[in-house]
Structure formats: C-alpha cells, structure tokens
Symmetry: C2
Subunit: 196 residues, 2 copies
DNA sequence: GTCTATAGTATGATAGAC
DNA sequence: GTCTATCATACTATAGAC
C-alpha cells in the first residue's frame, strides 16, 4: 500500500512532468503543432504510457490551462502581498515584460498566443484559456479601484493588458528586446499619471 | 492560341481563387490548421487540380503573403494620396481597427496572427510575413517624420503598431467590439499631442 | 487544366504483454 | 505504471487518364 507521499511522488510525478513539458511546448510551438511524440520525447516515456495519464490531447490542454491558472493566481496573490501600494502592484505586472523578455522575444505572450490559437481552432477550451486573461483583468482592475479610478478601472485594466499584448507580439515579430524596455518605460510613465 | 486577356482570365482565374480562399482561411483558421481539402472545397476544385497551381503548401503561403504585401502597399499608397496631412494619414491607419472591427473581433489581426504562428512553427516564410509589419512601420514612421518627430519617429511607429496589435488580440479574446472603439478613441487622443 | 486514384507519412488513439 | 505493437484517420503530395 502506498502512502500519501508515495501517491503524490509516484502517480503524479510522471503526470506532472507531462504537463510541465506540454506547457512549455505549447508555449514554444503552439498547441496544435505540438505532438504527443514530441511531449513523450521530452518526458522520456513512450507514447503508449502517455495515454495512461491522459486519454486525449484535449485533456492535456485542460491540465496545462489549469496549471497556468493556478500559477497565475499564486503570482497575483504574491504581488498583492508584496506590493506596498496599488501602484507598486501594477508595476509588478508591467515588469513581467522585463523579467520574461527573453522568452517573450522568442515566443510572444503565452496567454495571448494560446487564446488566439484556440479561437482560430474554434476549440472548446478557448473560454477556459480566456479565464487567464480575466484573472489579470480583474486583478489589475482592483488595483485601479484602489487608486480611486472607480469609473474607468476596468477600462484602464484592459488598456494595460492590450498594451502588454502588443509589446509581446511586436517584440516577437521583430525579435527585439530593446523594444520591450522602451515600451515598459512608456507604460511606467503612463501609470504615473494615475498615482500622483 | 490564347490572347493575353484569356491567359489572364483563364490561367490565373483558378489560381487567384485559390489564393483568395487560402488568404481568408489562413486568417480565419490559421495556416497550419487549414488543409488543402478545405481550400479545394471553397474553390470547388479537386485536390489534384490544386497541385497543378501550387506544388506545396508553402507555395500557397508565399502567394498569400505576396498578395497581402501588394494589397497593403496599395492601401498605404491610397492613404498617402488621400490624407491631407500626416495626422490624417495616421488616422487612416488607426481607423482600420474600426473598419475591420467585426472581423478583428472574430479573428484578431491577420498580420499579427500570421507572424506569431510562423514564428512558432519556425517557418522559413516568417521573415516574409514580417515584411507586412515593416511596411506599416516604415509608412507610419514617415508620417511622424513629417510631423517633425525625427528623433523618435520609429519609436512612435512601433508604439502605434503595438497598441493596434494589443487591441486586436484582446478584442478577439473577449469578443468585444466596444473595446475596439474605446481604444481607438484613446489612440486618437494620443495622436493629438503630436499634431498641435 | 481538371479529374480520380493512390502513395507515403504523421498523428491521435487503442490493445495487450510485462 | 510502463512498454511494444497496432489501428484508423487525416493530410501533403504524386501519377496518370481525360
């Protein structure tokens, strides 16, 4: 009989490694373009073993989205606790562009890219993926509400999200990290008008 | 023997219809997700006939990109002629968000989506697709130069491109046309500071 | 120039041994 | 829980008749 720890370390170890690999590959090459064979190769298991953990490719997508939702929630909670002011917290968001600039330059934004792809595939999981955007939107909106922008908090949140998306898309298209820094500077300046 | 007109109307008619259909389908469903069968169905030809006009799928992609490059150049030339001032001309660019809002809401930006996809596929045509972005970038930059923003004309062009991209991505993700109008208003206000 | 038939390959998915 | 077959399907691409 297995202990709880064994169950956790045993049963879930491979499964987690699959989700981990799928998460990265979906980001780097897209959902559709990523095959079971590729994931299996990274995880170093056979394709058959694969189906012991996930019955369909869509199940992996679900797991990846849920994983991202969990990670995003944790990150937002962390920012909420660490930031001393709403302004600080919003700057935490803006700074992920800097922090992840190397990957963004290569692969764009993981959220935007996945949502765009699923819309084009008319995939049933597109709403779940969109929930990732909503997490950010709601969180940023709340920060602006705390800055007393009650009337346009949501509009400002969407504006900031859109700006970030655009930066990621163009940085990736032009393979340009400098552009990211340039736009982050602009974003920080833009934010200042709401905090003074 | 065929006349030049026959050649044009004959030989190219089917080919053009293929490129036309591929252009739309690539926009709506993405390049990889679009199959020959789908294109053939729209054009109402057999898959075999298909290969008389294009030897590989990549050749169709090339044709689609070239078609878009030609169309974009024409559009920019038209804006150049019609716009009475650099400001007017830049507003022509901003207004495509309004003009195409219905399609953008459903499928995002055709340029950004294609470039993002080709980067993820590591496709050899990605640089060609990027040329579409460069066309806009160069054209917008020139408008800002005419507004005497010689030092940051390119930065402003990239900024405007990024903003537009972000609007398209989020409008599509949230299926929200109102957001497009909201952001276009902001963009027009933003532009005003450089024209007064 | 258009068609039908078909080859070749990759993929998602299943069955069953260990 | 992991593996090795294997199936069924979809897709790109080719060959050859008309």
């Amino acid at each position: 009989m297995k202990s709880a720890a064994d169950n956790f370390m045993g049963k879930n170890a491979t499964r987690d490694r699959i989700v981990d690999a799928a998460d990265q590959l979906f980001y780097q090459h897209g959902f559709e373009h990523t095959s079971f064979a590729q994931i299996a190769k990274v995880v170093n298991i056979s394709r058959g073993n694969f189906y012991h953990h996930f019955k369909t490719k869509d199940e992996i997508l679900d797991a990846v989205i849920n994983r991202r939702l969990t990670n995003t929630s944790s990150m937002l909670e962390k920012w909420e606790l660490e930031g001393k002011s709403p302004e600080d917290r919003i700057r935490s968001f803006i700074n992920i562009l800097i922090k992840n600039r190397s990957k963004i330059k290569r692969y764009g934004c993981p959220v935007g890219a996945l949502c765009s792809e699923l819309v084009k595939l008319d995939h049933s999981a597109k709403d779940d993926a969109n929930e990732l955007f909503t997490l950010f939107r709601t969180w940023i909106r709340r920060q602006f509400e705390q800055l007393n922008r009650h009337d346009d908090a949501d509009e400002l949140a969407m504006h900031l999200l859109a700006r970030s998306q655009g930066v990621a898309t163009l940085a990736s298209a032009f393979n340009d990290e400098r552009f990211i820094k340039q736009e982050v500077k602009r974003l920080n300046e833009w934010l200042s008008q709401y905090t003074e």
